[in-house]
């Protein structure tokens, strides 16, 4: 299926969950937040969140700033 990750097109296997995506992309254990369709998805819900065609996924991480 086709999704967008941080505005870049990406192809994922059908039925991929957010937890699987996070593992595949080696997301760090902390300092990261994920949203699907502009709604934040808590880490505890990643395993139960199956992605679907057209999902718009945003992954943010901690960065230096004032």
């Amino acid at each position: 299926m086709n999704v967008k990750i941080n505005n870049e097109p990406a192809v994922l296997a059908d039925g991929t969950t957010l937890a699987q995506l996070a593992a595949e992309r080696n997301l760090p254990d902390r300092g990261v937040a994920v949203a699907v369709g502009n709604a934040m998805v808590p880490r505890a819900e990643w395993a139960g969140r199956t992605l679907v065609e057209g999902d718009d996924i945003v992954i943010l991480k901690a960065f230096c700033g004032g």
Partner: protein, 257 residues
């Protein structure tokens, strides 16, 4: 020195530190240590999955340091609320430096969106520290909306231009019902000391330290300046004369003739 209390949490240091523009995470970490700060700001950005960069959080997270994620990059209240929820998840804290500055040239905070976002975020249970214009009326409105502090600017972000809004900061400090943190534009330890002498509760410094010739030494200098300024305020400064007429500090009795 009296302790600063924000939203029920005590702070021994009245210097808050931003983490932008340091030459390395190591220099940043050492500067944080040297500053004695207990409140450190950070931002978020879209992850670059190809970039296996250093984990900046590992250099910041210490016992006794409150993380203060910001909403930099947002242009309105809705974006700020989204960023706030992402930050709460990423950093595990409901403390938030709310900053909404849609104009990239001066990075001045949007007062209307900032007030609206404060109202929304307080309802969502955030401890909101809004970056705002040095506007006494706006600061009152933010406090009424439930902001934990107000953070009026001294000068635009990163300019090192000092207390350009000084007279209005004075009104804000006089009228404030919540702690006043002077944020943005503080360029030298003397600016920080002056703000503290005026009765500011804390200052937030970033660029002046991170781009200094020796950031660690500058962090130490700011620590001393903030402490000196606060101690002077608590000691009670002597009154300034209305004109230049001298008032002798030594006896004027003649003793040579």
């Amino acid at each position: 020195m009296e302790k600063l209390v924000i939203a029920g949490r005590e702070f021994g240091s009245r210097l808050f530190l931003g983490t932008g523009k340091f030459s390395s995470n190591e220099v940043m970490a050492e500067s944080i240590g040297a500053s004695g700060t207990e409140m450190v700001t950070m931002a978020m950005k879209r992850i670059d999955l190809a970039d296996k960069g250093d984990d900046m959080l590992a250099h910041i997270v210490r016992p006794g340091i409150q993380l203060l994620p910001n909403t930099s990059g947002t242009r309105n209240a809705d974006e700020a609320v989204f960023a706030a929820k992402m930050a709460r998840e990423a950093f595990g804290t409901n403390w938030l430096k709310l900053e909404i500055h849609p104009d990239p040239r001066y990075l001045l905070p949007d007062p209307v969106e900032t007030l609206r976002a404060t109202e929304l975020l307080v309802k969502e249970g955030f401890v909101v520290l809004p970056y705002c214009q040095a506007d006494p009326v706006l600061c009152k409105r933010l406090a009424e909306a439930g902001a934990a502090t107000v953070m009026p600017l001294a000068a635009p972000i990163g300019t090192n231009m000092g207390l350009r809004t000084r007279d209005f900061l004075g009104i804000i400090i006089e009228e404030a019902s919540v702690p006043v943190v002077i944020d943005a534009g503080i360029g030298a330890p003397s600016d920080a000391a002056a703000a503290m002498e005026m009765g500011a509760d804390a200052v937030l410094v970033n660029t002046a330290i991170s781009v200094a010739g020796d950031p660690v030494a500058m962090a130490k200098a700011f620590k001393k300046a903030v402490e000196a300024g606060r101690e002077a305020y608590e000691a009670g400064l002597g009154r300034q004369s209305a004109d230049m007429t001298a008032d002798a500090s030594s006896p004027l009795t003649a003793f040579l003739n």
